[in-house]
């Protein structure tokens, strides 16, 4: 195991402040971020080599992406995903594929491509379209309840880089932890070697403003062969119904005749005297017959569609409001009615 030292050129002052306490008590830890994710390289390195057993994709691809179904629901920054998009450029996104991920970004200061949530094990302009390059392999391992989904970049090359890189991401069912493992990141090219030109970390949408990001390093050669970095979400807290402290209002629901959909927003206001801890989720219960929600965060069986309330930071302070965009199908043009239940804590 190694102790990663923060590089002053790559870690803004705010991040240094955020992480200072963690470094004092835990030399090889990082975080937590505003959501509560932490990262550490004090975990065993145990490379799961699936190059011979997994399904290979993106062979010969440069700037290629592929959408993959997840074998289990994976929760990332409060949203449970059933699919992801993997890129030859050492990047994974949720909620869609990026149009352009060839140029890396500073997760602490810039939005991610398409403002999509990202896992960046080794985000750089990488390519499989190089003689002798490999492919990206993926495979589900383990038994239901404790499955792992492995995505492995095998013999991927940096642009014009002479040597191949091998690294992988392991997503773990239930714990929703994320493991980056580096088998070979010494490329023999100073611009690539050990992550010298890569962004490594995780980030949610709107990361620069909400602080939901942990950037392990950017353009700093601090990775090494046989290294593992684990990102861990905050402990799940049982959701508490806080509806009695919430006032719910909405905008008008405007009908779009082209898409035949209704759109608007729901606003919650903390009318209590104390802050409400995030994550905060609203559930639209008793939704009027024939009305269905489009694009909710998920659906609670027997309850209705739910939405993670964005932009509330760590709490919704007394008197503070937060707004969630909503969209509906309503083919009978009935009055759109529902009862909002608000929860604090993770589902």
């Amino acid at each position: 195991m190694s102790t990663r030292k923060l590089h002053p050129m790559t870690c803004p002052a705010a991040l240094l402040k955020l992480t200072a306490l963690a470094y004092i008590s835990c030399a090889s830890c990082f975080g937590q971020d505003a959501y509560g994710y932490t990262a550490t390289n004090s975990v065993p390195y145990s490379y799961l080599d699936i190059s011979g057993t997994g399904t290979s994709i993106l062979s010969n691809a440069d700037d290629g992406t592929a959408t993959l179904s997840l074998p289990f629901g994976f929760r990332f920054y409060g949203t449970t995903y059933s699919s992801l998009c993997v890129s030859s450029n050492g990047l994974i996104t949720f909620g869609g594929c990026p149009i352009d991920d060839m140029t890396t970004r500073d997760l602490t200061a810039q939005s991610t491509p398409g403002n999509l949530p990202v896992l960046a094990p080794f985000w750089q302009d990488l390519s499989f379209a190089v003689p002798g390059a490999g492919a990206l392999s993926y495979q589900k391992l383990g038994i239901p309840g404790a499955q792992q989904f492995v995505l492995q970049w095998n013999n991927v090359h940096a642009l014009n880089g002479p040597d191949a890189l091998n690294f992988e991401v392991v997503l773990k069912e239930g714990t929703n932890t994320i493991l980056f493992q580096y088998q070979k990141v010494d490329s023999g090219d100073a611009a690539v070697n050990l992550g010298a030109g890569a962004t490594v970390g995780i980030a949610s949408s709107n990361a620069p403003s909400n602080g939901y990001r942990l950037q392990w390093c950017r353009n700093a050669g601090v990775l090494k062969d046989n290294l593992a970095i684990q990102f861990t979400p905050p402990p799940a807290t049982a959701p508490v119904n806080v509806s009695s402290s919430i006032r719910v209002t909405s905008s008008a629901f405007v009908f779009n005749r082209v898409t035949q959909t209704y759109s608007g927003s729901v606003t919650i206001t903390n009318t209590g005297a104390t802050p409400i801890n995030s994550p905060i989720t609203i559930v639209l219960t008793n939704l009027a017959a024939g009305v269905t929600a489009i694009g909710p965060t998920g659906v609670l069986t027997g309850e209705g569609p739910y939405y993670l309330v964005p932009g509330t930071g760590s709490t919704l302070a007394a008197g503070q409001s937060a707004t969630v965009p909503v969209q509906f199908n309503n083919p009978s043009n009935a009055r759109i009615a529902f009862v909002v239940a608000t929860y604090s804590g993770s589902f």
């Binding site: 909405s250 905008s251 008008a252 405007v254 005749r257 608007g264």
Partner: protein, 191 residues
Amino acid sequence: MTISGFTKLRIVSALFLCSPACWASTIYQVTIDTSSQSGNNGGIYFQFNGGLDPDPASVSITNFAIGAPGSLSALPAPAGNGGVAGSLDSLPLVIDNSAGNNDYLHFLTFGPTLLFQVSVDFTSPLTGSSGSTFSFGLTADDGLTPVLTGDPNGFNGQISYDTAGVFTVATLGNDAIETIAPVASSGVPEP
């Protein structure tokens, strides 16, 4: 008074003067320069929808005028959904927020200008969980394709009020050709 697309005009209506219950009205004059469409066939579309549990409300459209050589078309016939009464041929056109979608489409031939007044009326005090929004849009002769706007919902302008009775007005199309100006605001006894 010209209001740019992203400049929102906020007007607190006179509803707070009404006690214990009355009918508050706020009137706007809408003017659209349609000279670039003059002579073309098209349509005008109105929509008045509430949100979650809105208070009863309606909009009344009066003083509708199209500059010559424009005129309302008899065919195709006007079409409406939800709480619609009257027509542009037989003013006032009244649209309430009783259904999920309450709208009205009337075909016409554009002239250089298009004018109308809209009175937004609701009971006071407001007790619902949402306000309502009046939206209007110009269309091509298919009655659907938006004209003179890039708004994703196809509207040229909106007049909204929230649960506190605060109005927000926005032009959504070509700001240079549209104005939405307040004319009057009053609280009167509920009819």
